[in-house]
């Protein structure tokens, strides 16, 4: 619509040229003379706004008035979110996983187990998300980030046999290609976490943990695919490849459920999405709310049973288990709410300052200028 009006204007410009020069002006003179179009004469109709105290004032007040309530809302929501975190690295000699953390070996056949007990002061009402958190783990290191082969993970058979060079030095082992290749896959988090509720009377009830639906839908269904589709016998498909060096099992042994095995294993997919920062948490399991009557996690004592496989002490890392409920704005984060409140207030304050300036100087300037 705008374009059409502009064109119309251009024609109008042509018209006026011919009208001004009259019929006597020959075609040769006309051709050399620049066109009298608004664009060429830099006279396009334009809106010419100027940022003055007067015009900006309302914007500041409006921003203040919008941001402060949003901030308060965010802050309250964030505070209503229950979150619990437990560190099970076993740095102190007193901590239950101390031994496991000391006697670490990739090749030991007997897994080291330890149990961390904790208690929740308040019940967790809605769905609870269970995360594992790692610290000082540089998943965003360049060498690490690029050490993967997306086409192999997408089920490409050629890449399965001949993984990308980016996977070095985790590309092949014993002259067999590694599937899945690369440093990311090789360092898959392989601790097993189990949660038990200790009744006041002392009985341990295992809390059911759902392990499906923790990865992006698109990742699970599009980006990650087993070679030859999920219905094939994965053992046959992965014939001729070997497991990543640090893995205990082959990739087709990750789960018994064929929907969650091989490259489409959700724990694997979650791990493959490299974290942005060296301290990160990844979704491990979901604890679904059973009924409206009882909270998902009632207050009381719990035990976290850890199969301690994953070494972090060598790089001074930490391992944590986090339980959290969520709201419409995600997990617990007071920062956003505080930031909104702060910015809103600052805008409001600036609005007041500008109002004063506008009244003091705006009038003076105008009155001083107009006589000129």
């Amino acid at each position: 619509m705008m374009a059409s009006s502009y064109n119309a204007k251009e024609e109008d410009g042509h018209h006026s040229v011919s009208a001004a020069s009259g019929p006597s002006a020959g075609p040769s003179a006309k051709s050399k003379k620049p066109d009298n179009t608004a664009f060429k004469q830099q006279r396009l109709p334009a809106w010419q706004p100027i940022l003055t105290a007067g015009t900006v004032l309302p914007a500041f007040f409006i921003i203040g008035l919008i941001f402060i309530p949003i901030g308060i809302g965010l802050f309250v929501t964030s505070n209503n979110i229950r979150e619990f975190e437990v560190d099970y690295t076993g740095v102190d000699a007193s901590s239950p996983c101390f031994t496991c953390s000391q006697t670490y070996s990739w090749n030991s056949s007997i897994p080291c187990k330890c149990a961390v007990s904790f208690s929740l002061e308040q019940p967790f009402e809605s769905n609870v998300f269970m995360y594992y958190g790692l610290s000082n783990f540089y998943q965003n290191h360049r060498r690490y980030v690029k050490s993967r082969d997306d086409s192999q993970l997408n089920g490409d058979k050629a890449s399965l046999r001949n993984p990308s060079k980016e996977c070095e030095p985790y590309r092949s082992h014993d002259n067999k290609p590694i599937a899945p290749c690369g440093a990311i896959a090789n360092s898959l988090f392989n601790d097993t976490l189990e949660l038990f509720y200790i009744d006041p009377n002392g009985t341990r009830t295992q809390i059911p943990l759902v392990k499906k639906g923790i990865a992006w839908w698109t990742d699970k269904h599009v980006k990650f695919r087993n070679p030859g589709g999920n219905n094939f016998n994965l053992t046959v498909v992965f014939q001729g490849t070997t497991k990543p060096v640090n893995w205990r099992k082959y990739v087709y042994e990750l789960d018994t459920d064929p929907e969650n095995n091989g490259f489409v294993n959700e724990d694997f997919i979650v791990w493959m999405r490299t974290a942005a920062l060296p301290t990160f948490r990844k979704l491990y399991r979901i604890i679904q709310k059973k009924s409206n009557m009882t909270p998902t996690l009632p207050r009381g004592n719990y035990t976290l049973d850890v199969t301690y496989n994953y070494p972090v002490r060598s790089f001074e890392g930490r391992k944590r288990m986090i339980l959290s409920t969520i709201s419409w704005m995600g997990g617990k984060n007071p920062f956003l709410g505080i930031a909104y409140i702060t910015v809103g207030s600052v805008c409001f304050f600036l609005g007041v300052v500008l109002l004063i300036i506008h009244h003091k100087y705006g009038n003076r300037n105008n009155s001083a200028d107009i006589p000129n």
Binding site: L51, Y138, N140, A183, N246, F335, Y340
Partner: protein, 1134 residues
């Protein structure tokens, strides 16, 4: 070949030219053939063979291109975070486009050279005329030049079609003097005026090696005659016909080539066209170096930190992230160096190749607005402004000194008779119509009361005097070039031609007053008087005009046998020689006219007795025949003859100023520019023009620094005198300003001539030249206007250079129309050519060409101003947006183990500067108008707001950089805190399938990038003062493009890519509520400080520009209804 400097008196090196390549008779002198260059003119830069290497070399000499080449090579060699294509492709594109452009330009130059080199010339060989191509002409060839032809090289005149061995030449295209000058053949060769005769001429010419001074030549011709001793005759500049000058009013001449090709005086006066760089480009390069330092230090800091951090082997190589064997074996220094280079590559986008492309495009496309400008189109010529170099657009907004030519630039080069005054009675011919007489307009307006019968006699004598005392010729042809006026209305076949346009104007004025000069026939001048009778006067003697005497005389015998001596000349040379007449009245009128800027001449006569005439003849004869010091003896004779006059009256002629020249100069003055007039013309004329064009006002005190004065006093004293005058004034001025009484301050105008200038510039024996120069500059600085007259072309350039390199380094602009202005046009920062009458040389060599002087106003005040603010914003914004872009990436290195992990995806890295943020700024830099065009034109003082590169000062540059850093910190840590506190680990239950998505590093980068693109674009939107529909389209369009691109880029598994890291990342981010809130918050925070700063500065310390903007806005509010009405009416017409 030795070249001699201007003003060098000594004949240091000489050449011998054998006329017609004939050896002198044996025994006289050894025949040594010398080698001289041929007559080829070369202005092109490249040849077919050296184009590629030379062009590449020149392009990579540009610091930026070289830098990108290095980055590209580094990316090729080592393992870097980004692919070499990201920098190689744009670089290749830029280099290719530039090479094509420069190649095309050089091809055009080759074509122009060829046209000049191949035009035919006539050469005498073995008694025959041979046609040759110009470039085959050699030194020693005898050349035949016909009327209206241009001389193909520097020649010594041998003979002409005239018996007296003279010829008329116009050197308009060389020094701007359109008058016809007389040149003389050597007395002993003037009889050789057929081909056969010339074939028998045996002579050699010894002369100095070529030097650029047009007015200087020293040489000797040796003519060998049979048996006799050779005759030696001195040769001077009056014998030399210069390349570029044109033969006039002479049928043909024979002349011998002495300097050819690039050795001609014209070519020596041309300076090589060096690449001009604008002040903005210089600041840009300075900023670039700062950013290069920032870049290097960033890379260095990161490399050092990386190795400090990696000192712990578990950090360097944790179990989950091992190196390959080859990486491990590399030496630590090599690794460190590679890491350093990798960091360089990672941060190299801080100096984007696209900035140079954008700047080039802005300049190239922006310059079209000049050519498109209708106000700068001249209907008379049928041409608009031309842009030859778009590199200097913004320099038009920075001009501090304007050097303008006079003839043809300030003036029309078109004389007009205004009035005459006889014994105090003023006569004005009415109906002056640009050189054409309206029928029936022969009446005379008498301002004063009619004179008595005695007056009547004087009046007629005066008119006759003007009809007789001149050297005007009547030309019966229509197609003559130069000054031509129809004598008979209707016939249109006869024109007056003269070496002085003033004379033509006078004779024409007389015609309008009733006395028509018909012709010179058999030495009798015929005049048609008011009664339509033909009066015949016998012309006895002509005492030619010269610039020292500043008068000319004729001696005629009237029909009744009376002998008259009529003399006309400058008032100062006539009044002292007058013994009777109404001196006081005439003097008053002359002074009045001079103040009006008219060129005045006084007319006097005396009656001669026959005896007196005899004496005069005797006197002249002896003087003319003198072999030594002929000039001096002639001058003495003239002095003796021209005395004891009776004053008749005075005339006033106007060299019409160009349309609106005075208005333009006034505006330029108001805009803070200093205007200097540099002309080859004589002082009086030039000064009159300066008065007329308001360069000098009536109140201006004129300081003279001329030969006349330095003859009386020595230069040293004069200079110190003047500086004392000026400085005393200056001192009292400061006191006056303190006491608030500065209204009465005297402004000064300086007049200097070429010879004195040479003296000022000449290095003294004791090396005190710097001193003189400094004093001269000091005087100039305190003068509001300066007039330099009698300038040789190269001296004009010297003046420009002197100012250009004075300690303030002001930006200079030179404007002229003739070939004599070319050297100064090339020397000045900006050269503007006027498409004038004196050929297209100036327009061709200039950076910009305009049809008329008045167009300079819009060129500088509007276009220059716009280009400057546009490019200033462009440069600052480009640096700003790339700080915003790269600084988060720098910060990210602290959180990824200094591993050079890019924060953004490759596609974003490549496209950020190319497509997401390129168009809005390009468009801004093309059409932004912070103030309306009409206001800029009306209020020239706004130009001062941007003087001295004010928008690119370091303070402002640092502000922008800090703003960029601040924004970058906001983007990065805003995202960091949100990620760190895990809001983003899930997006709640809005989308049940994605309830608990995890965000990875690419989402983090995408979030930062989204905020970045929006902030940077909106920042530009806040800076835009002129929102046309195109701005809306481009700004919102490019944001939309970013979103659509991101959706597409993440929406598909791209088959040709070996990674799919962006798959669905953008969509997942947008499906999360906190991400939206975060984006909005961060954009607001980033823009807030800049908005507050702008508003505060505008309210508390507004600049003139801002005041006018605000004022206009207020007025707009008041008049909004009127505006709306007019808007609607205009929109209806759409």
């Amino acid at each position: 070949m030795l070249q001699q400097c201007t003003g060098e008196e000594n004949w240091v090196d000489s050449r011998t030219v054998y006329i017609g390549h004939r050896e002198p008779p044996p025994g006289t002198e050894a025949y040594i053939p010398q080698r001289f260059p041929d007559n080829r003119i070369v202005s092109s830069k490249y040849t077919f063979w050296n184009f590629v290497p030379k062009n590449l070399f020149e392009q990579f000499r540009r610091i930026a291109n070289f830098y990108f080449l290095i980055i590209f090579l580094v990316q090729l060699i080592i393992d870097t975070p980004t692919s070499p294509i990201t920098s190689g492709l744009p670089l290749f594109f830029v280099i290719t486009v530039t090479a094509i452009k420069q190649g095309y330009e050089d091809w055009l130059r080759h074509k122009a050279d060829n046209a000049v080199n191949q035009c035919p010339v006539h050469i005498i060989q073995h008694g025959k005329v041979v046609r040759k191509q110009s470039h085959k002409l050699r030194v020693g060839d005898i050349v035949l030049v016909k009327e209206d032809e241009t001389f193909p090289c520097d020649l010594i005149l041998l003979s002409t079609s005239r018996d007296d061995g003279t010829c008329f030449v116009t050197t308009a295209s060389l020094d701007g003097e359109s008058s016809h000058k007389t040149y003389y053949a050597v007395q002993d060769t003037k009889s050789f005026n057929t081909e056969q005769e010339l074939d028998t001429l045996r002579a050699t010419i010894e002369c100095e090696q070529p030097q650029p001074d047009l007015y200087k030549f020293v040489g000797r011709i040796n003519i060998y005659q049979e048996r006799d001793e050779p005759i030696a005759r001195p040769l001077g500049s009056e014998n030399v016909l210069l390349r570029g000058a044109t033969l006039k009013n002479t049928e043909y001449v024979y002349a011998v080539a002495i300097y050819t090709g690039m050795e001609t005086k014209m070519a020596l006066n041309y300076q090589s066209k060096s690449q001009k760089r604008s002040a903005v480009e210089k600041s840009m390069n300075a900023f670039l170096i700062v950013y290069l330092c920032i870049l290097l230090s960033k890379a260095l800091i990161n490399t050092v930190l990386k190795y400090v951090w990696q000192a712990n082997p578990n950090r360097d190589e944790p179990w989950y992230n091992e190196k390959t064997e080859s990486e491990r074996q590399r030496h630590v220094l090599i690794r460190a160096f590679t890491d350093f280079l990798a960091f360089m590559v990672l941060f190299n986008y801080i100096i984007p190749v696209s900035m140079y492309v954008t700047v080039e495009m802005q300049k190239f496309l922006g310059s079209y607005f000049i050519t498109w400008d209708e106000e700068m189109f001249d209907d008379e010529i049928g041409e608009g402004a031309l842009v030859n170099t778009s590199d200097l657009n913004e320099e038009l907004g920075q001009v501090e000194y304007i050097f303008t030519d006079k003839t043809g630039t300030l003036t029309e080069n078109n004389m007009e008779f205004i009035e005459c005054c006889v014994d105090g009675h003023v006569y004005v011919p009415h109906a002056i119509c640009n050189g054409q007489i309206l029928p029936g307009a022969l009446g005379i307006d008498m301002i004063d009361s009619s004179p008595g019968p005695d007056g009547k006699e004087h009046e007629e004598l005066f008119f006759r005097a003007l009809c007789l005392c001149h050297t005007v010729q009547v030309k019966e042809e229509e197609t003559v070039d130069g000054i031509k006026r129809g004598i008979h209305q209707g016939k249109g076949t006869s024109f007056y031609i003269s070496s002085s346009p003033d004379e033509v104007a006078l004779v024409e004025g007389m015609k309008r007053l009733g006395f028509t000069y018909l012709r010179l026939k058999d030495n009798h001048m015929e005049i048609l008087n008011r009664e339509d009778e033909i009066e015949r006067f016998e012309l006895l003697e002509v005492l030619n005009f010269d610039s020292v005497r500043r008068r000319m005389s004729v001696i005629v015998r009237s029909g009744t046998g009376e002998l008259y001596l009529f003399c006309k000349g400058a008032d100062s040379s006539i009044f002292p020689r007058v013994i009777s007449g109404k001196v006081e009245q005439v003097r008053a009128r002359v002074e009045h006219n001079a103040v009006e800027g008219l060129r005045t001449l006084c007319v006097a006569y005396k009656l001669l007795t026959f005896e007196e005439y005899q004496d005069i003849c005797q006197l002249l004869e002896t003087a003319k025949l003198a072999l030594q010091e002929r000039d001096k003896k002639l001058a003495e004779a003239y002095d003796a003859i021209e005395r004891d006059f009776i004053l008749l009256g005075a005339t006033a002629v106007e060299d019409r100023l160009q349309d609106k020249a005075a208005d333009t100069i006034e505006s330029l003055h108001k805009a803070g520019m200093k205007v200097w007039v540099l002309t080859g013309d004589k002082m009086e004329t030039a000064a009159a023009t300066c008065y007329a064009s308001k360069l000098f006002r009536r109140s201006t005190q004129i300081l003279e620094l001329t030969t006349k004065r330095t003859e009386e006093q020595n230069l040293h004293d004069v200079l110190f005198d003047l500086s004392r005058t000026v400085l005393r004034q200056h001192g009292s001025l400061t006191r006056d300003t303190f006491s608030g009484l500065s209204n009465e301050f005297q402004d000064y105008g300086l007049i200097i001539d070429g010879a004195t200038l040479t003296a000022v510039m000449k290095p003294d024996q004791d090396g005190s030249t710097g001193n003189y120069k400094e004093i001269f500059l000091e005087i100039c600085r305190n003068c509001s206007a300066v007039l330099c007259c009698r300038m040789a072309p190269l001296q004009k350039a010297q003046i420009v250079k002197l100012i250009k390199f004075s300690k303030e380094h002001p930006i200079t602009l030179a404007i002229g129309d003739g070939a004599n202005d070319v050297s100064m046009i090339l020397e000045a920062h900006v050269g503007i050519g006027i498409m004038g009458k004196e050929g297209r040389q100036a327009a061709r060599n200039s950076d910009y060409a305009i049809p008329k002087f008045k167009h300079l106003k819009k060129m500088l005040l509007v276009h220059g101003h716009y280009y400057y603010i546009r490019i200033a914003e462009l440069v600052q914004y480009f640096f700003y947006k790339n700080v915003c872009f790269i600084f988060p990436q720098f910060l990210y290195q602290f959180f990824c183990g200094f591993s050079q992990q890019p924060l953004y995806d490759t596609a974003y890295l490549t496209l950020y500067n190319i497509s997401f943020t390129s168009l809005p700024i390009l468009l801004y830099s093309l059409i932004e108008q912070h103030i309306n065009m009409d206001i800029l034109k009306r209020d020239p003082s706004l130009y001062r707001d941007i003087a001295k590169n004010s928008l690119l000062r370091w303070r402002i540059f640092i502000y922008w950089t800090f703003l960029g850093v601040f924004d970058a910190v906001v983007f990065f840590f805003g995202a960091y805190f949100l990620f760190d506190n895990t809001t983003f680990t899930s997006n709640g239950q809005l989308m049940t399938t994605n309830t608990q998505m995890m965000f990875g590093n690419w989402t983090f980068g995408t979030l930062v990038f989204t905020v970045l693109v929006f902030t940077v674009t909106l920042k530009l939107a806040l800076d835009t003062h002129y929102w046309t529909w195109i701005n809306h389209f481009v700004i919102w369009g490019s944001l939309l493009f970013y979103v659509v691109f991101s959706l597409l880029w993440g929406g598909i598994i791209w088959p040709f890519l070996n990674y799919q890291r962006m798959y669905y990342v953008f969509m997942q981010m947008l499906s999360s509520g906190p991400a939206w809130l975060c984006i909005i918050l961060l954009i607001t925070v980033s823009l807030l400080p800049d908005v507050v700063k702008k508003v505060m500065c505008r309210a508390l310390w507004p600049t003139t520009t801002e005041r006018i903007q605000t004022k206009r806005k207020c007025l707009n509010v008041e008049q909004s209804t009127i505006f709306m009405l007019s808007q609607t009416s205009s929109s209806i017409s759409f």
